[in-house]
């Protein structure tokens, strides 16, 4: 009996460790595959000609064996385009998100707070193709009135990206604003500062590093965004010279040409992915430096006094200015107006996106419900998204089956077995950090090279599910680990002190208490599989006509189908209907997550029996 328990413990520990090792292998594989595939292209084109050349005109006939290089492969215009779009997104979404966060933390009536939090969560959950689609049907048509072209270009891209990074900026900034001790605010108000002054001059400076971190994370998101940008940027490989000229970002380059690339071209596209990955990694490194500083400031008493000094300095400065009533009015009303305006506007954006698409799509969906379950017929008006619904469900099922066990086991390893920091644990943690930063299109590239390659060169739901599973890992690991951390140590001690082994403690005491976190990981993952499109384009395929009958068949998910329908421009009604279905799914998942989360928490607290 005893040896039996010991064996179980050993097996358990090795299984958890193996899951963690898999995370490391995933990262290593991504780098190895991308580098091996892009190295010949770098060599053939020349590293600096590739990075700094501003002429991108691939020649399909180019091969590595061939003598001359007829095509030209410089991505500098796209690097500039990516940076310009990111700066634009930061100017719009960053500033806007900052004020929205201040609004939520300090100006929002308590009853509205929950509504606004859900709104922000929903904005984060809307698939990027839906944003892109909204960009095409709403934004571009409005902009084309003032634009010399159809409205596509830097402005449209910045607006769409700005909306997309908004939730990231808001939620992280808000968390750090709400972590500012109440006493700072009280200190300022006690000196006679108005509410607005206390907020902007005392509380906001104290949360500065958290807000900076949120902006850096937003930048990472903007750099890696693919589908929404592809749909509104225009995509000519030129510099963004004005607000309204067609330009191309790095991610778009990959999506646009991967489907029909020649040999060198394919290498160059993978190389574009490598450059993109490097950009994102640098940004993530910056993020971890900034956010570590935040944590340190909050934990170490030494730094705390520094923060406090600064704060009181701010208060003193305020006091000096009290004579100036005009100044007081200005900070009071303008700050308040900005914060409230931003909060209301971000709510308005959600209503606009959802409302517009529903208003256009719902009537069509109700009139032709066959679109959901009908059979596809060529040459007819009978477009159906039934095959895509099947493909999406198959991808959701398989990827959860892969990602949830590995992710949960890795989280268990990190939280239950790895309390002492050592080099292996640090590597696992950085692997997960890196995985969470890799842009979705790079996952798509990797999946195409690795899984599609291994499965005989044909895209399939299996390859797509494997690809997205890796992408889901960091979310699952983090969400699970967060909830494992929230399980009080006293429960573990209670179980161990009764003579229970580690495995029994984990499975009977710790995991049941961590269930809400695991469940939210599952819901988040489902939402992710439904929303993502870039990782699927070249791994699962974008065929929307045939219903898959096995995991080795290819098939487009709903999001990919929306991209196809909207991109071809012939089936706009069907595209609207698809967008309605996507939004409804995401909305439903969000509501379900909130409902079940609340229920489980209540149950664990023992208030509901």
């Amino acid at each position: 009996m005893m040896t039996n328990t010991k064996v179980k413990e050993k097996i358990g520990k090795s299984a958890f460790t193996a899951a963690a090792v898999l995370c490391i292998i995933a990262v290593a594989a991504i780098f190895v595959f991308l580098i091996v595939k892009s190295l010949p292209a770098f060599k053939k084109i020349g590293f600096f000609d590739f990075l700094l050349g501003d002429n991108w005109s691939p020649d399909k006939g180019d091969t590595y064996a061939g003598e001359s290089l007829a095509g030209s492969y410089g991505i500098f215009t796209m690097i500039v385009g990516t940076l310009a779009a990111t700066v634009g997104a930061l100017l719009l979404g960053g500033v806007f998100g900052y004020f929205t966060a201040v609004f939520l933390a300090y100006f929002c009536p308590r009853r509205l707070k929950r509504v606004f939090s859900s709104v922000i969560n929903l904005l984060a959950g809307i698939p990027s193709v839906v944003y892109g689609f909204f960009g095409i049907v709403f934004l571009l048509s409005k902009l084309s009135v003032i634009a010399p072209n159809n409205g596509s270009g830097l402005l449209a891209t910045s607006i769409i990206l700005g909306i997309m990074i908004l939730p990231t900026v808001v939620s992280l900034s808000r968390t750090s604003l709400e972590a500012v001790p109440r006493s700072y605010y009280e200190g300022a108000v006690a000196l006679g500062a108005t509410h607005t002054q206390a907020v902007f001059k005392t509380c906001v400076p104290a949360a500065k590093s958290g807000i900076t971190a949120s902006l850096v994370l937003g930048v990472g998101r903007a750099l890696g965004e693919t589908m929404a940008v592809v749909m509104v940027a225009g995509n000519s490989p030129t510099y963004p010279n004005s607000l309204f000229n067609s330009f191309r970002v790095m991610t778009a380059n990959i999506v646009m040409e991967m489907g029909y690339a020649g040999e060198v071209q394919e290498g160059a596209l993978v190389a574009t992915g490598v450059v993109l990955l490097l950009f994102v990694l640098v940004v993530n490194l910056l993020f971890s430096l900034v956010s570590k500083k935040t944590v340190r400031a909050a934990v170490k008493p030494k730094n705390k006094t520094v923060v406090r000094k600064k704060t009181f300095h701010g208060v003193a400065r305020l006091r000096d200015r009290f004579g100036n009533i005009a100044y007081k009015l200005k900070t009071s009303y303008i700050g308040r107006a900005f914060a409230i305006g931003a909060g209301v506007l971000s709510g308005g954006i959600l209503v606009l996106v959802i409302g517009f698409i529903f208003a256009q799509g719902l009537p069509h969906l109700l009139k032709n419900p066959k679109i959901l379950y009908g059979k596809f017929e060529f040459g007819s008006e009978n477009i159906t998204i039934f095959p895509s619904i099947v493909s999406t469900l198959m991808a959701v099922g398989l990827s959860l089956l892969i990602a949830i066990p590995i992710g949960v086991m890795t989280a268990i390893f990190l939280n239950e077995y790895a309390r002492k920091e050592n080099i292996f644990i640090r590597i696992v943690r950085s692997a997960i950090d890196i995985l969470s930063g890799v842009p979705s299109i790079v996952y798509g590239l990797f999946g195409m090279i690795a899984f599609v390659g291994l499965l005989g060169g044909k895209s399939s739901i299996l390859a797509g599910s494997l690809t997205i599973s890796i992408m889901l890992l960091p979310t699952v690991v983090r969400s699970t680990e967060e909830s494992l951390k929230s399980v009080a140590d006293s429960l573990r001690e209670g179980s161990l002190a009764l003579g229970a082994g580690k495995m029994r403690t984990i499975f009977k005491v710790v995991l049941p208490s961590a269930l809400p976190g695991i469940l939210s990981a599952i819901i988040l993952s489902i939402g992710r599989v439904i929303s993502e499109s870039a990782p699927f384009m070249y791994t699962m395929g974008s065929v929307i006509t045939a219903t898959p009958s096995s995991y080795l068949d290819s098939g487009a998910t709903l999001a990919v189908a929306l991209y196809r329908l909207a991109g071809e421009g012939w089936y706009m009604q069907e595209a609207y209907a698809t967008a309605v279905v996507l939004i409804a799914l995401v909305l439903g998942l969000n509501l379900f997550a909130e409902w079940i989360g609340g229920r489980l928490r209540k149950k664990l607290k023992g208030t509901e029996q």
Binding site: M1, A497, L498, V509, K603
Partner: protein, 258 residues
């Protein structure tokens, strides 16, 4: 119960115990003999090492990263830090009640049944019997018999702590360690737990860490006074509280420091 019964006695014998947390030495050369079926109290100011020492007896310190233990710890004849000692069996025989009540987020019944189930009891009738006898031993049966299937988290703090005692009793430990079991409780709940200790010592050895000197004086047979990681004085409770030999003990129990 299917567990391989290692021979654990009911008395504890420690020789030259030293314990380090990294660089910091938390226990300095402690030797003590704790007799069976008595209540032994450890008193002393915060951070003096009394809880740390207590946790050596069921090897809960194993869970603390960077903790190094030297010296000889015996329960009965068994060297509990020997390689062949089964930690789980040790902890089954040496139960523990913690400072803050830590019921599992399950029903009252499942909380008590957790221990027996750990050691292979599956039959419902047998579990029912253990749950009832454990709750009776903790003087809680009448209070709880109608709400066995309710969450343990809905109980009051005092009830939760007594439930934890009942849970510790469910695996029939020979020794029970109590780490400031009443520090989070009101006087009435404290009184109930003290009565319970008095009842339990008929069959079980109890070692209790307490901040409350009156409590030590009220319930314990023997008292050890700890200061800065050392066992300053150890003996019959009556003697420690009426005529302490060491000046530091006297100053502490008369309330001049700590």
């Amino acid at each position: 119960m299917k567990i391989a019964e290692q021979l654990f006695g009911q008395n504890i014998s420690v020789k030259n115990a030293n314990l380090h947390y990294g660089e910091f030495q938390a226990l300095k050369n402690i030797s003590i003999e704790i007799p069976e079926k008595e209540i032994t109290a450890f008193i002393g100011p915060s951070g003096c090492g009394k809880s740390t020492f207590l946790k050596c007896f069921n090897r809960m310190n194993d869970l603390v990263a960077g903790c190094k233990i030297e010296g000889e710890f015996r329960i009965g004849e068994t060297d509990i830090y020997a390689k062949e000692t089964d930690v789980n069996a040790l902890r089954k025989n040496v139960g523990m009640v913690f400072q803050k009540p830590n019921p599992f987020p399950m029903s009252v019944y499942d909380n008590i049944a957790y221990g027996p189930r750990t050691f292979g009891v599956r039959k419902r009738a047998e579990l029912d019997g253990i749950v009832e006898s454990s709750l009776r031993a903790a003087a809680m049966w009448e209070e709880l018999k109608d709400r066995l299937d309710k969450s343990a988290l809905g109980l009051s703090g005092g009830q939760q702590q007594r439930l934890c005692i009942a849970r510790a009793l469910s695996v029939k430990p020979k020794i029970i360690l109590m780490d400031e079991p009443t520090s989070a409780l009101d006087p009435i709940s404290t009184g109930k737990i003290e009565e319970l200790c008095d009842e339990l010592k008929k069959t079980t050895t109890i070692v209790i860490v307490t901040h409350n000197m009156q409590q030590a004086a009220r319930i314990s047979d023997r008292t050890g006074f700890f200061l800065l990681g050392k066992l300053v004085e150890y003996g019959d409770t009556d003697k420690i509280f009426t005529s302490p030999k060491d000046e530091r003990t006297e100053r502490y129990i008369t309330g001049r420091f700590g």
